[in-house]
């Protein structure tokens, strides 16, 4: 878990993304129990209502589900679902702005490609 929250985005979103990251990176496995509201309140020192808002969004999205009397669990297939969502996010938040910036700097398509492969340690460069 990320140790701290920042003040650049709403807190419930950060809680939600933090749990998503745990699932994507495999620290939180499908069909295992997610951290409880109490644990998150104690860890981040934030109001339980804020935590619930983040968790409820994950429930609505089908990433978490509630087992009565036990707590929240990670749904099967959630990792795949999150990966797809994050790929769209990657396109929008990283790839598109990169193309925009490249245009601004008059970097050609070819030049951009070679820059990506060079930086990213593409296998062909080995």
């Amino acid at each position: 878990m990320r140790p701290t929250l920042d003040d650049t985005r709403p807190i419930y979103l950060q809680i939600r993304e933090m749990i998503e990251d745990e699932i994507i990176e495999g620290r939180l496995l499908e069909e295992t129990q997610a951290p409880s509201t109490n644990q998150l309140v104690a860890f981040y020192k934030i109001n339980p209502a804020t935590i619930l808002k983040g968790i409820n969004q994950l429930v609505d999205a089908g990433i978490l589900y509630k087992k009565r009397g036990v707590g929240m669990f990670v749904a099967s297939g959630s990792k795949q679902q999150l990966l797809e969502k994050r790929k769209e996010h990657f396109l929008r938040e990283y790839v598109e702005p990169m193309h925009k910036e490249a245009e601004r700097l008059s970097i050609s398509e070819d030049e951009l490609h070679s820059l990506i492969f060079k930086r990213g340690g593409h296998p062909n460069e080995d």
């Binding site: 985005r9 981040y44 020192k45 934030i46 109001n47 804020t50 808002k53």
Partner: protein, 292 residues
């Protein structure tokens, strides 16, 4: 727990301190009461807890008038700055005496908390440092487990670790014993994550009372080329402006619509989030110019 503030005004020595304030609070919930020094926070809380009577309007707790109503007053605890200069009792005895009037008082919890705050039961209350006196009051406030628990800038004099401990205990104890907790403060950056709702008082008037996140999201910052920023913000409420060469950044207070989102992209502007503290500072700042 339901508190109803109905058109409350308060005037002292011909000076109006609170102007026609109305709001409803329903717990369990943690509420932040925010306002600059002198905005009227303490007056509002002392009327809420029936230490003072409103000049106009009514205050009810679960539909009962609070003023001179023992039953209502018993359910509320108001922790505020207090002068202990002549208090010769020892901390332990002082707390015991106090606890007699608090039906839900948890002695075990009080002792645990005293230890955590490193306040000895054997010290004379009058001899406590400011931070220790605050800690003792926080202990009483939490351990009383009153259905309505109010801390008026309770952290005064506490050092950073003690304040951290206070915030942590408020949350822990709220989870275990849900109740209506009101925290008044102007140290917003430290405490904003504790709140579910905020009440903001500005110049004795109610500025807003709403869900904290909803309030916070009505503030945002737009940054980009000066002309585009001006174009985007021409019919919006700007609460702060910064400029660096041809780049301008404005903080806007108001809703952000789908149409705004589209214009943002067209004008190639960037939108960013503002903290509760930032928003509060700018919304309560222009005060002195039109002061009565």
């Amino acid at each position: 727990m339901k508190i109803n503030f109905n058109q409350v005004s308060f005037t002292r020595k011909q000076k109006t301190i609170l102007h026609n304030i109305s709001f409803q609070l329903e717990g369990p919930k943690i509420v932040g009461l925010l306002g600059r020094n002198g905005a009227g926070k303490t007056t509002l809380l002392s009327i809420l807890t029936a230490f003072q009577q409103a000049s106009n309007g009514t205050v009810t707790l679960n539909n009962e008038t609070t003023f001179e109503n023992e039953h209502a007053v018993e359910q509320m605890i108001f922790v505020r700055d207090h002068n202990f200069e002549y208090e010769t009792e020892k901390v332990g005895d002082y707390i015991e005496t106090y606890a007699k009037f608090r039906p839900n008082f948890d002695h075990g919890y009080a002792h645990q908390l005293l230890k955590r705050f490193r306040v000895s039961k054997d010290l004379e209350v009058a001899k406590l440092s400011k931070g220790m006196a605050s800690a003792m009051q926080v202990v009483i406030g939490l351990a009383s487990r009153a259905p309505v628990t109010i801390f008026d800038e309770a952290y005064l004099g506490m050092d950073a670790p003690a304040r951290e401990l206070f915030y942590k205990e408020v949350l822990n104890d709220f989870m275990e014993h849900p109740r209506l907790i009101i925290l008044s403060t102007h140290l917003i950056s430290e405490m904003e994550t504790l709140f579910e709702e905020v009440i903001i008082i500005k110049n004795g008037r109610l500025f807003t009372h709403e869900d904290k996140e909803a309030f916070q999201q009505r503030g945002y910052r737009i940054t980009g080329d000066e002309q585009s920023v001006n174009e985007f913000s021409k019919d919006k409420t700007i609460v702060a402006t910064q400029q660096l060469g041809p780049t301008k950044s404005v903080m806007i207070y108001g809703s952000f619509t789908d149409d705004d989102q589209r214009r943002l992209a067209e004008l190639n502007l960037e939108r960013s989030f503002v903290s509760l503290q930032d928003l509060f500072i700018h919304l309560t700042e222009e005060e002195n110019e039109d002061d009565e």
